[in-house]
Amino acid sequence: MRFQVLISGKTHELELTQAQDAWDCSVDGHSVVIDVREVSPGVLSILRDGKSYLVRQGPNQTITVGEHSYEVSIADPRSWRSRQLTSGSTAGPQRLKASMPGKVVRILTTQGAQVKAGQGIVVIEAMKMQNELRSPRDGKISSILVQEGKAVIAGEVVAVVE
């Protein structure tokens, strides 16, 4: 199996071959000898040159090695190319998104209003903390997509500034 793995801003070529209990493995062309055991679902014990690593799989492509967590994107080469094309569209209307799950406690402006960069648009509350979402730029509020009292999830678009 071949993968491209994106981690800390760099892409690595990974090749894996399962041979009985062991994995033959190469990273960016150099061979890595490891002994792997899945000790519980989502937890690997990996030995490499005697060093013992506990590797955990979290949600959202998080991989934890010992105490360090990494966000990892993984793809096989076919799908890789297409995904790279989709990134980084910063032009056009700016969508204001909730930074974390919570409830909308206040809406500080109205649809159609002119706003300045940094001006508060929506206040979200979670776990007794309030988070004010501010406009990323000067512009006009083209739509507000939430109501006061509504629950939002992280990343949900709450308003659009154009």
Binding site: M127, Q130, L133
Partner: protein, 502 residues
Amino acid sequence: MKMFQKILVANRGEIAVRVIRACHELGIAAVAVFSEVDRAALHVQRADEAYPIGPAPAAESYLNIERILDAAKKSGADAIHPGYGFLSENPNFARACAKAGFKFIGPPPSAMEAMGSKTRARQNMEQAGVPFVPGTAKGLRSAEEAEQLATKLGFPVMLKAAAGGGGKGMRLIDKAAELPSAFEAARSEASRAFGDDEVYLEKAIVNPRHIEMQVLADQHGNTVYLGERDCSIQRRHQKVVEEAPSPAVSPEMRRRMGEIAVRAAQAVGYTNAGTIEFLADEDGNFYFLEMNTRLQVEHPVTELITGLDLVQLQIRIAAGQPLPFRQEDIHLRGHAIECRVYAEDPENNYFPSPGQITSLTEPSGPGIRLDSGIYPGWNVPVDYDPLLAKLIGYAASREQAVGRLRRALDEYYVGGIKTNLPLFRHVFEDADFLAGKANTGFLSRFASRPQPAPPRREEEIAVIGAGIFQALTGGATSSKNSDEPHSGPSAWKQSAREEALS
């Protein structure tokens, strides 16, 4: 008075579990209450009985006196433990408990009231000879008056809003020339924030430490102090790391502080467990801040160095038993440090991170105590404060306690949501912290220092691990949505100081 047979715990999360444990250890049945989102919570599982008290918002459940008393009646409990936060410092709740025939496990309502209002507390405490930060408690009429007073107190001084809280209307002033404009600015800020432009002046405490003294008083006139806790490591006025004893407190200072705390408690007819919070300067002077008329979140560090169980003692005191020891029987041994584990994302401005815990490995072993309110599968609700658990390390010395916490942090894994566990790893490697020099400014200065990068070899293991997980789960391709820019800048503020944990 007879020991209780059944106690209702009017709280949730780790402290509800903590109180239920104390009940069980004393052979007392424990009753939980829960809101709609807490049906599957750990405290419900651990209790002998559990009753629903309403919808998720605290105002409709954990702060609803009537519903809690209804549950107490249904269960046939004979006492109620309020935990911390929620109704724990509400004298009306204490009175309502008494009226409905339930013993309230805490101080008398009169003592709660005597300490609950800033002005009444100051009056009572000044009479008892408790030291305050030098300054005026009453409003200043003009910048000139402020300047006269400041010269008398000595710079730096602090301007504060009389109606204030949360830093609004506060100004630190280093020299006289800054006073006139600062005076006007503070007044207008206070006016905007609180509708009241009264400001007053205090001597500024430079690099203060937050040090608090635990007291315990029975209903037979015995009051003792159990040593101090150093709670200087805070973020947004929320305590993050606490320890006992304080590296900045000498035995002589402890004795003075303890005796003053006992006097303060006695001055308001205090019984049960309580805490006097002080601000301490670098010269060992300390000044009264406030009294918390309840159990503190950080009570475990005191338990570890004294060998006592504060919750069991709270229950015994409420049942009318005398304290089983006197001041001279209390010996501090070793050093304890507590980490408050919050559901928050250290890589994203410490935003709250509620959600489901998909995987959990908890530390244990020598010198490690974990007071936790979570379990694998638990869905941490968005509705309450983000405290998940308290990790406490205890050992013969401070250095050894830090060593134990370091290895416990290596063992600790919470999957599915973000937590502030990585923060503690950095704190326990920090030279200032290790030297015992952390004051209340520590975390804000700390955040700006560069954190060590993870080792290269681990990153390669992460790459390999990611591939193996992919292969094991059938090689399905998945990708992270990173095609959208982040939302605009955002700012945080603390809500509802009444419910803040301290």
